[in-house]
């Protein structure tokens, strides 16, 4: 299994600031990943985007509400049962606290998990070896797309008035098809999910030194293909 030297500083790759990296991840991820791979490991490369995801998740939580608990401007989501144990205010506060904790937990655990999946795919299926910290940095930077996803989703929910509205092909079906297999499959084809998967595939191809197509096969199979299969197999 060939070990890929990733930590040697490449003089041809320009060093940019963290803010520039985050912005460039959206517009030119290839250069950003090349720079990340050519630089020594840096915690800020994954910590900053993960904190941004947490922040966006916190904002989204404050804009939404659980089932049966009315929040001005947003309709209820149809999950009964949670409000029965305590007064509405108390329940809402509690719901928000748990959601905030869950959002932060998901952001950090998800970053490490997606890095592990990338590392595993590279190690087992692509037969290449690369440092796990670099995989964390790539996964962290790719998760920046989630910030956009959360923002756009919140705006979409606000605009349509439907809590199930997502920037996905499921918008075609509207609220009528919620719960059906077709809706679940189309919801898996979320624009931002596809974007994030593309970024991960690009990062994996850089990490493994394999073609983008080959890396994209595995990344899309896991992040998109399995989701669609799960939607079909429910």
């Amino acid at each position: 299994m060939p070990a890929t030297p990733l930590n040697d500083q490449d003089p041809d790759v320009a060093t940019t600031s963290l803010v520039a990296k985050l912005l460039n991840t959206i517009v030119g991820p290839g250069e950003v990943f090349e720079e990340v791979l050519a630089s020594p490991p840096s915690v800020s490369n994954w910590l900053a985007p993960t904190l941004l995801v947490c922040l966006s998740g916190i904002v989204a939580v404050f804009l939404s509400s659980p089932a049966g608990l009315p929040v001005p401007g947003l309709p209820s989501q149809g999950e009964p049962g949670l409000e029965a144990t305590a007064p509405i205010e108390s329940s809402l506060t509690h719901w928000r606290a748990v959601s905030l904790a869950a959002t932060c937990f998901a952001a950090f655990v998800g970053t490490f998990w997606s890095a592990f999946v990338l590392w595993f795919i590279g190690r087992v299926f692509l037969k290449t070896s690369f440092p796990f910290p670099k995989a964390i940095e790539i996964a962290g930077l790719a998760s920046l797309i989630l910030v956009l996803d959360v923002t756009v989703t919140a705006l979409l929910v606000e605009a349509t008035g439907s809590p199930t509205a997502r920037p996905a092909f499921s918008l075609i079906l509207g609220s009528n098809g919620v719960g059906s297999n077709a809706f679940a499959v189309l919801a898996a084809l979320n624009v931002f999910h596809l974007w994030a998967a593309t970024l991960l595939a690009l990062g994996l191809s850089k990490l493994s030194r394999v073609s983008f197509g080959e890396a994209a096969f595995w990344v899309f199979l896991y992040w998109i293909g399995i989701r669609i299969a799960l939607a079909l197999l429910r």
Binding site: S64, P66, A107
Partner: protein, 551 residues
């Protein structure tokens, strides 16, 4: 394709067919072909069974097609290039044939196979198909297409680098796993996906391609939050208790590891001795020899007795008797097992007689059958005892070569080898029968069974197993690593039951035309004849073993 290649293919086909027919002279080949023919005949005979209707279902057919297609792609891809016979390489590749002609020549056997398979498909499933002929033709054409795809995959796979080939192999397997799961769900309503995999929380494994608000509003998180909040105070206390337990046991594990690592003793010398001992023990077991502990090796030598019975080949009997006398562990185990076994029979008989004494009635015929069943059960004790007395070729396997230098006949040596375990089995069975006699007498036919039948059974069983042990010993002596295979042991177990079949069949046949005494006499005579045949086979094997060594 040119006529020359067709002629070549036909000539080779004819030669292979003749070679196949010549191979049928070998017993293993004829048995294999007969097994396949029997299977085909069996399937054809039961072709109307409903299970074939299941195979003819559209869902099953689609599954089969997917399997054929997937298998073709994968096997072709694994092959990496076309496989030819070495003479083909020398002839075809140097001759003026085009690549297309060679590919078609390579496909010809596959076409024939597709037609044969199609015929089998039609023969087995025609009754369950709406349009059997059209379906069969489609099946043949699909099979042919699969061969084309397989060959194409093989040719393509040969052109890509090895590393890429390995990676693409994984890709194919990944896609197959997905297709299989979807097919099983759609066609057979089988779901390989557990329910939690479709929950909101499970979406976390697809981070960052997920909806963060969905994960945040997952019921799993909120139920946990409710518990921690105190809506379920008992759960919180339980959580605390569990945490304390975990902490305690975790500390214990860490402390014990700390103590272990602080040990100053030298592990290398002790480990070396232990490893050597265990390896030797394993080697002895693999060679089919007994495990002798160091403590038992300090026994004194014993002189040969002056009794004529133990002179000549009888010395082998005496040696095995001496080993048996020193094998207290084996004897103790046999005694304990026999006591339990005979105790059960004794209890059964005692309960019967007590019930009869208290007024219970049983017809004389039923009482005789009960006693006969007890006798048969006691006779079956030999199946368990035989394994407990390894004083035959089991322990003398590594002496087989030396035994051939003795001035005795093979038959007498074989007889001497199996004497001790047979006599011990009979002694234990006899003791058990005497114990049964304490609860009352037996009918004459049971007594006859014990007197003549038990030795016949013990002799036959020990003969069969010694045949197995001798085969294992010859394999070991011949330098084979493993003395006994699982298949060999399984066949011996089967044979140890089948050896009683001829006598049983004779008894049933004679019993239909004659009285019980005559039938029993026929059984005893047949069984002893079979035993003698087994002993002669062992002796012959023993002689042939010597010849093969010299050769």
């Amino acid at each position: 394709m040119t006529k020359a290649l067709i002629y070549l293919w036909l000539a080779l086909l004819k030669r292979r067919a003749l070679h196949f027919c010549r191979q049928l002279r070998r017993p293993t080949a004829i048995v294999g072909v007969a097994a396949v023919l029997c299977l085909v005949a069996f399937l054809f005979h039961f072709r109307r069974h409903e299970i074939f209707a299941i195979f003819a279902r559209p869902g099953s057919l689609v599954g089969g097609m997917l399997l054929m297609l997937g298998g073709s792609v994968f096997t072709g891809f694994l092959q990496r290039g076309l496989v030819f016979e070495p003479p083909d390489i020398e002839f075809l590749f140097t001759s003026p044939f085009t690549q297309r002609q060679i590919v078609l020549y390579r496909l010809l056997p596959s076409y024939v196979f597709a037609v044969v398979q199609g015929f089998a498909f039609w023969a087995l499933l025609q009754l369950h198909l709406k349009h059997p002929l059209a379906t069969t033709l489609c099946f043949i054409l699909f099979q042919i297409a699969c061969f084309h795809i397989s060959m194409g995959a093989a040719i393509l796979a040969g052109t890509i680098p090895q590393a890429l080939h390995e990676r693409v192999r994984w890709m194919i397997l990944g896609v197959y796993a997905l297709i299989t799961a979807i097919y099983l769900h759609v066609a057979w309503d089988l779901s390989l996906v557990p329910s939690f995999a479709t929950s909101r929380l499970a979406q976390l494994v697809f981070y960052p391609a997920l909806s963060l608000t969905d994960v945040a509003s997952s019921s799993a998180f909120h139920e946990l939050g409710l518990r921690l909040r105190g809506s379920h105070p008992i759960s919180f206390r339980l959580l605390l208790e569990q945490s304390l337990y975990l902490l305690g046991f975790g500390l214990g594990a860490v402390a014990s590891l700390w103590l272990l690592l602080r040990l100053k003793a030298n592990i290398f010398e002790t480990s070396l001795a232990t490893t050597t001992r265990v390896a030797e023990r394993r080697q002895r077991i693999q060679a089919g020899r007994r495990i002798i502990t160091v403590a038992t090796t300090g026994l004194r030598s014993v002189g040969l007795p002056k009794l004529r019975l133990f002179q000549g080949v009888g010395a082998v009997v005496w040696k095995n008797l001496l080993i048996a006398r020193r094998s207290k562990r084996e004897l103790s185990l046999a005694v304990a097992f026999s006591l339990v076994y005979v105790g059960l029979l004794l209890a059964l008989r005692w309960v019967l007689h007590r019930n009869m004494a208290e007024g219970g009635s049983l017809a004389p015929r039923e009482l005789r059958d009960f006693d006969g069943a007890l006798g048969v059960m006691l006779c079956a004790l030999v199946f368990f005892l035989q394994r407990s007395f390894p004083f035959d070729f089991r322990s003398d396997g590594h002496h087989v070569v030396a035994f051939r230098t003795l001035p005795v006949s093979a038959f007498s040596l074989v007889l001497a080898e199996i004497t001790v375990p047979t006599v011990l089995c009979l002694a234990f069975q006899g003791a058990g029968f005497l114990m049964l006699l304490l609860t009352g007498g037996f009918e004459w036919h049971v007594m006859l069974l014990v007197l003549f039948g038990f030795p016949a059974v013990a002799l036959g069983l020990n003969g069969v197993w010694n045949l197995h042990y001798l085969l294992g010993a010859t394999r070991s002596a011949g330098g084979k690593a493993q003395s006994a295979t699982a298949i060999g042991t399984l066949m011996t177990v089967a044979l140890s039951f089948l050896i009683f079949y001829p006598a049983g069949w004779v008894t049933v046949t004679v019993g239909q035309h004659a009285r019980l005494g005559v039938a029993l006499a026929a059984w005893v005579a047949t069984q002893y004849s079979v035993d003698l045949a087994v002993l002669l086979i062992i002796a012959r094997l023993f002689r042939r073993f010597e010849a093969s060594r010299e050769g």
